[in-house]
């Protein structure tokens, strides 16, 4: 006589959890008696039953379930705390053929990520959310969660949660039930075989909704966390039955699935992978030199790290953008990172521009700068320590008093605002003046003849790109640029 498995390990789990560190490769990392494991099994079975393993993407939370990708043999992404529904939205839009599950705990979903979750529910994203309500923050050692009961003691509510100061347990399903878009909302528990049977039905249904693209489904699972609650299996079941369920009544709050047309695949946002790659990695470089790279001067061999600082309104940020655009037009990799005060006008402003033939590891410049353009004393004082001793300093000589500088540093005092005002009648051309100055500085520092001409051309192209539609603006900026070149 032979035997077949009636109930056993789902094929949607990896056969061996090879990602788990340590010798135990068949078990999950959850504590003894944890509800996560039970829900994992129900989800795995439902995915297997509905045959959607191949195209399922499971977005795991921060919390005890952060390692869900160790276990489920489906596409998985681990995301920052509370952001699973936001990332799930991205995945379901960019890969509409996939079936996206957001798996979250009560700290993750109802505290730090409540907004992401509610917005996704309100948009009716085509996803299923499994929400583990275990009345505390499990992973971090049992702190109070939005779902902690009044009077319940946790490490951060040692005298019991006091509703007067800490509010009441957040009724997530009831709140979602106030929204129009969601199609299916059910709360289940795992305490008894009957409850688990209902939970299984709900999980299967929510996965079916996913498969049929019916819309946003939410299954809240009132789950045991015996270790943090310091309870045995029986005690935690009793706590759930006698206490938690008073605040979190079980049942189906909404099921609109029968009325819903099976969803069609929405038009993908971006399907052209080559374009995506071009946006993310504009220059494909090998041995540091891109195939279509044409500026061969030695100054471009190293990464150029440029910091520009001054007042808001001096054109600091747009000067950086213009420089970055020139480099982009010549197939360099570029990054531009602004930083400015809270003021809409005025205040301090600064930007960091990095130009490189190679991949740029970070857009931040906090040391090793090659060039500093300082329009104010404050900017000079703040950013000078980031400049290399053999770097180039361009500064506004009416606004800035130089301290003692290393002899190897090149300095150029220019009053770009005054030049712009004088030659073009407006200080708003100061940034083009400074780019002219930069062209002259690079020329002095070993830019070859071809690249000198090309720098001018790149400037003209960048100006054309930006101001092409404004009559006279291109000419005026080129005039300012030439004035800057001549000023050195």
């Amino acid at each position: 006589m032979s035997e077949k498995v009636k109930f056993g390990r789902s094929k949607v789990f990896f056969d061996t959890f090879h990602r788990r560190p340590g010798p135990i490769k068949k078990n999950m990392h959850y504590c003894p008696g944890c509800g996560h494991g039970i829900l994992h099994k129900l989800i795995a079975e439902a995915i297997e039953y509905h045959g959607i393993q191949e195209d399922t993407n499971l977005i795991a939370p921060v919390g005890c379930a952060v390692f869900a990708y160790y276990y489920f043999n489906v596409g998985s992404i681990s995301v920052p705390h509370g952001r699973a529904p936001a990332v799930a939205t991205g995945v379901s839009r960019a890969k509409p053929e996939s079936f996206v599950i957001s798996y979250q705990g009560d700290g993750d979903l109802a505290a730090i990520g409540f907004n992401e979750f509610l917005q996704a529910a309100n948009r009716g994203e085509k996803m299923t959310v499994f929400f583990v309500n275990n009345s505390n923050y499990g992973m971090t050692g049992g702190q109070m969660a939005p779902t902690t009961l009044p009077g319940q003691k946790t490490t951060t509510s040692p005298y019991g949660r006091n509703p007067e100061t800490e509010g009441y347990p957040t009724p997530v399903c009831e709140i979602v039930n106030a929204l129009t878009a969601p199609v299916y909302i059910e709360r289940v528990a795992l305490t008894t075989p009957g409850r688990v049977a209902n939970a299984k039905k709900a999980v299967y249904k929510a996965i079916q909704n996913l498969k049929e693209r019916k819309g946003f489904s939410l299954v809240e699972v009132v789950a045991p966390c015996p270790v943090n609650l310091k309870m045995s299996a029986d005690q935690v079941n009793e706590f759930i039955e006698k206490q938690m369920l008073n605040y979190f009544p079980l049942g189906c709050l909404r099921d609109k699935t029968a009325d819903m047309e099976p969803g069609k695949l929405p038009a993908p946002v971006i399907r052209d992978e080559e374009s995506v790659r071009k946006i993310l990695f504009p220059v494909r470089s090998e041995n540091g030199v891109a195939a279509d790279f044409r500026n061969s001067s030695a100054v471009f061999d190293q990464e150029l790290r440029v910091k520009i600082g001054g007042f808001g309104g001096q054109g600091v940020l747009s000067l950086g953008v213009m420089l970055a655009n020139m480099a982009r037009l010549r197939n360099f990799n570029v990054s531009w990172m602004p930083s400015y005060g809270p003021e809409q006008r005025g205040g301090s402003a600064c930007c960091a521009v990095t130009v490189s033939r190679n991949t740029i590891p970070s857009p931040i410049i906090d040391r090793g700068g090659n060039l500093l353009i300082a329009m104010t004393q404050a900017a000079l004082d703040k950013y000078l320590p980031e400049l290399r001793d053999d770097g180039v300093l361009i500064y506004d000589h009416t606004a800035v008093k130089l301290p003692q500088l290393p002899e190897t540093m090149q300095t150029y005092g220019i009053d770009a605002l005054a030049i712009a005002d004088e030659k073009l009648g407006s200080s708003k051309f100061a940034n083009s003046v400074l780019l002219g100055v930069l062209a002259a500085v690079l020329a002095k520092n070993g830019m070859n003849e071809a690249d000198k001409a090309d720098f001018d051309k790149a400037f003209a192209e960048a100006v054309e790109e930006k101001f092409g539609k404004k009559p006279g603006a291109v000419e005026a900026n080129i005039k300012a640029y030439e004035a800057g070149k001549a000023a050195l």
Binding site: K4, F7, G33, C34, I38, K41
Partner: protein, 73 residues
């Protein structure tokens, strides 16, 4: 002929949480007295052939494969 079932606990995969004990209608499961490789007192099944195949223990168990229910064909 009535169907025959068998419950099997893989001792090394069991964390001894005990969720399965109370739900078995035939009271086949109890806590063992020996530590497994993970350091837990794993659950043991006495008279595993008396299993009626309801699956209650399987669905209370948080581990993927610590409990398996077989059906004889």
């Amino acid at each position: 002929m009535a169907k025959k079932f068998r419950v099997e606990v893989t001792a090394d995969e069991c964390k001894g949480c005990g969720r399965c004990i109370a739900v078995c209608p035939k009271k086949l499961l109890s806590r063992g007295k020996e530590l497994n490789i993970q350091g837990y007192f794993a659950i043991i099944a006495e008279n595993p052939g008396n299993c009626i195949g309801c699956g209650s223990c399987f669905y209370q168990c948080p581990e993927p494969g610590a409990i398996t229910i077989f059906e004889e064909e």
